[in-house]
Symmetry: C2
Subunit: 282 residues, 2 copies
Amino acid sequence: MEAALARLLPPAHAAPARLHEAMRYATLEGGKRVRPLLAFAAGEVSGAAPERLELAAAAVELIHAYSLVHDDLPCMDADVLRRGKPTVHVEYDEATAMLAGDALQSLAFQALAENELADAPRRQLEMVKMLAAAAGSRGMAGGQQIDLEATGAVLSLPELEFMHIHKTGALIRAAVLLGFWCGEKVSEKIQDQLDRYAKAVGLAFQVVDDVLDHDASTATLGKTAGKDAKQGKPTYVSLLGLAPAREMAEDLRAEAHAALDGLGERAERLRQLADFVVLRKF
Amino acid sequence: MEAALARLLPPAHAAPARLHEAMRYATLEGGKRVRPLLAFAAGEVSGAAPERLELAAAAVELIHAYSLVHDDLPCMDADVLRRGKPTVHVEYDEATAMLAGDALQSLAFQALAENELADAPRRQLEMVKMLAAAAGSRGMAGGQQIDLEATGAVLSLPELEFMHIHKTGALIRAAVLLGFWCGEKVSEKIQDQLDRYAKAVGLAFQVVDDVLDHDASTATLGKTAGKDAKQGKPTYVSLLGLAPAREMAEDLRAEAHAALDGLGERAERLRQLADFVVLRKF
């Protein structure tokens, strides 16, 4: 994955060099790569070729990387630490960070369109459409807007879930489905199973993030811990309490496993990833 | 075009409403729509259906609209007036403006992927790739970075041209080629002609922008006049002087016309647009 991203990103010396450096800084050497891992694992279910999965996974990760760069900007979360390093606008400057994020988004769609990623070009167009919808105002960007407006507000559990289904869930679902669509053995029934799996894992990911933000240290996380509470953001921990939030994550892990029933060996990586998402300590 | 954009943008009341309002505010009721006009005109050369052109043109305009929203932000040009109205971050807030721009970019790619726009799906994937490249770090976003770094600097004429080929030229070329590719009568030879045309018109557009920024009033332009000089940005006027810049625009208009030689009646709109781009007063 690292090699694929490094190849896909323009070289740091190509003009405009500062922008390309910032794009590489934002993307390479860091992150858990959960979305790429999910894409690769979903590709095992449909027998997808690694060369295709690499690009689909990279496209999703580029969208994720751009969203972090913009999210860290002073007008959003104003964060200075990400993946154990200074955030992009701290290392470079605000304007470069914004443009780097913008260009990373464009690059994601280029990665999805410029090589053959699916057996039928029509399905590949579906992939572009799916990633665009997942990234846009009814997906990730919309979730970030809801997040903005929720700061300092009291949300109900369904409202919190609505926010996270957009903010994190949409892109995690895109990772799973794009990986799956790279393969040959694509059926509606299995797609529905993976969709259920992705929904459970996406939500579990956020619940665990909230638990870790409450529990772990900045050093372990590589990003500022305790930030949500300080900013008055509603979280699963603030809404449910720590023990019930942990329980909810466990329930979602079980749900993710149940969704994969009958898929046997080829879904083993997906099962491992559901475990990783819930049991991780960072 | 207005109707197509209004249909394509999520309704203002759909959640998250504030984001969707900002996206509509940024895109609708304003702008010269030069890029859509170019796409439609290029589509006449290849006999493209209006339903296709509408979407291809909208995709390009959405990219353009997003770039203006981000360009006006305090960390970039810090402008308060655009298309005769307060800029998006003034009317809403910085975070919403950034997210609206981000979501407009996603929507552009969705528009290009979700309906049939070309005879072959493979060509439609080419269209996605072309728009992504034109918008990205080796296209428009790269041009904006070069622009940032050029503020206060003295550029040579080739350096200034390099900046504008990226900043404005890439997207204008995309408008022309995407419109052309929507049609049936697509040939390499004509494509090369349109490419030459697009290059000349794209550069002419910028030269005339510089002349108008120097010449016209804020009221006529609907955006802050004299901004470039105030910000110490190199322009064709500052580099060449007013009369030679006007002459250069005229030469580029002649070049655009020459590129269309032999295309007869079906390139008439493109000729008119080359005239409009150079002779406009706003």
